[in-house]
Amino acid sequence: MTTPTQSSGMPVPPVVMSGAELYNQIMSGIEMDLTTENMPTLDTKYEGESDADQKIRMTGYSEAFAEYQNQFDEYQKKQSEEIRSYGNNAMSYIENQDRATDDDALNSLETSMQNI
């Protein structure tokens, strides 16, 4: 998994959305009616709806929530992987930087001592 990096090469920590943001991001790709923004407008939007239509709509919602759950699980897995990857990459980056600095410093020291 690749981790975004800054211009210095240091990995950037993943952005963690709030619960509502995440819910809306996923749900807006499945069923716009069920986003937190649209939810309060449903009664007005479907006023006078027949029972049969409502049943069809509710079945659709039920499927939408099931699909949301799947996508949410996938997202959590991916996010967890990103966080782990970020940690590992950041650690490696610092370790490599430090190793390079150590090598330079040791070479410099050796050179200085040879010149004593």
Binding site: P13, P14, V16, M17, S18, G19, A20, L22, Y23, M27, L34, T36, M39, L42, Q54, K55, I56, M58, T59, Y61, S62, E63, F65, A66, Y68, Q69, F72, D73, Q76, K77, Q79, S80, I83, R84, Y86, G87, A90, M91, I94, E95, Q97, D98, T101, D102, A105, L106, S108, L109, E110, S112, M113, Q114, N115, I116
Partner: protein
Amino acid sequence: MLFPHFHFSSKENRLLGFVGAENPEPQETVEASKPDVEAQPEAPLKPDLVKGKADESVNKADTAQNKAEGKVGKMKAKIAKLRASVKVDNEKIKSLEDELAAGEGNDDQEDKGPNAPGEGVEDSQEKVNPNTAKLAKSLEGMKMSKENAAALAEGLVAIGEFIKTFKEAFGIDDKKKLDKPGAANKDKPEEGGDKAKDSKEGTKSSAESKETPISKVQNPKEEADKIGDVESQEVDFEKKIGDAGKALSAVLTGKDTAPEARDAAIKKVQDLNVQLKKVEGKVESKGELLKEQERRNEFIDSAWDKAVGANPDIEDGDRIASSIKLEGGDDIVITLNSDVPEGVIEGMKAAGLDVSVSGNSITFNNVPPNIFDEGGNEALDKTFKALASGMEKQEEEPEESQESADESVEESTESTEEAPDAMSEAQTTKIRKVLEANRQDVEEGYGKVEGEGIEKRDSARSVVDALNAEIDFLEANDASPDRNIDGKTVSLVDRLKEKKTNYAEKVKALSKDLPATKANPDDIKDNSEQYARKRVEEYRRTKEEAYTKDPSRKNAQLVIDAVDAELAYLKNTEQNPDRSGADGTKSLQDRLEKKKDDYRSKLESGSIENRNDVGPAELV
């Protein structure tokens, strides 16, 4: 200096809801039965449930994202610590370079000065080190250049000082210095060896001694590698010093006056100097290691105090544990004086501790470095609370936890033949422990959230949520034990209610100017039984997960016990959500009954092949 980093995934995964994915057994979830969803077409939602379903999804996402944010925060803290550590190292190196540069500067100044050769050397070296100056003066009579005399003098003194530092650091001359960090018993420091190897033997023997309950075993391999590494360098150094000494002796006594011999002697000293600086770094590393060991040993001392003091009713000599020791560098092993009480290990796992049990030993796996800091005591408190509680239970019901697995199975069969409408005392205790461990986890989570934003407010609400569930359960089952707080006996429920008031006030204070993202604390009360049900369900799922990983009879029995407890709680609270599924089950209780039958038939039909996996601890 870099330090190892560790990963914790099991608890976090469980909290994020990933564990169930690894379990091939059908899993019931409270919010929706996912397996059912896959098994049959979606049933239409009731219109009045749509908003509730959406709110529940948002709340669940909130909780998961808060945990993810916490994980990122932990990563950032770890990275910042590493950066700080690297910065300190680099500053040390820079300081060394500066010192060296300053030394070179002095030499340059001498070259330009008008002084006679001998005087120049003496003046210069006196500023750095009197010993060097004395040596340089003794070289005045030799036919050496000022630079060569200074280099020789500096090199020889540096070597002498290095050897002194080296021996002090590793206790070559001082037995106690070497033995202290690895010594098994602080009361017997004189028993330590005078070499690193002796120290290791001393540790081992005292670990085996019954008279010294606290043994502090370091990672033997790592220790051997590090000490061996340094020891081999010491030998190497002594040889080089010997060679350089001979070469110098020949030059200084005039036996060898050839310029080449003199140059070669100087070169040997310079080489030693280079090596000296490199080994100095290892000396520092070793110093850090010793500090870490001392820190760990202090931690073990503290752990032991807590073990002994965990239950004031236990008299001297009747201790909970017979030894606490470090093994493999990262594991802490506590050996109890008796078998691990039933339910203790579950309580500890529920409290988020990565532990395993073998016979009468509890092993804390992969102890993170920071457990020796602020988190350590908290983890220990939880552990020994659980242990003390288990001991109390064991004293009350000695037969229960001492029975063999087979007998336990029989008992369980008998007990489950009775209708579990009323919860048994053991089941009540089990659920109480699950809820208590959950609340402690949530409280811990609140403490870790920084700032005063939405996250903090919601975290405080989660604590109220957990407290409500615990209080309601304790009150409904008349199961509130007394707690001794500062010498006063206080009912647990009263203490929890006081705590709840405090957290509710925090929620109120934090809610100013913040948008609402969760239900009000007062509303949560109505859902406390559902909340508790989720926790009990999670607990049962951890048992199932353990069985999936290790399908032993013991684990099958633990699943049955957990299902029994869950069923009892559901009946007790009159909860029975719909779980109609393709397998013919109609409700959660129905499904749990079926699950229990499945596990019982696994247990009794011999379908578990590895029957021999029931270890001695279970059979005795």
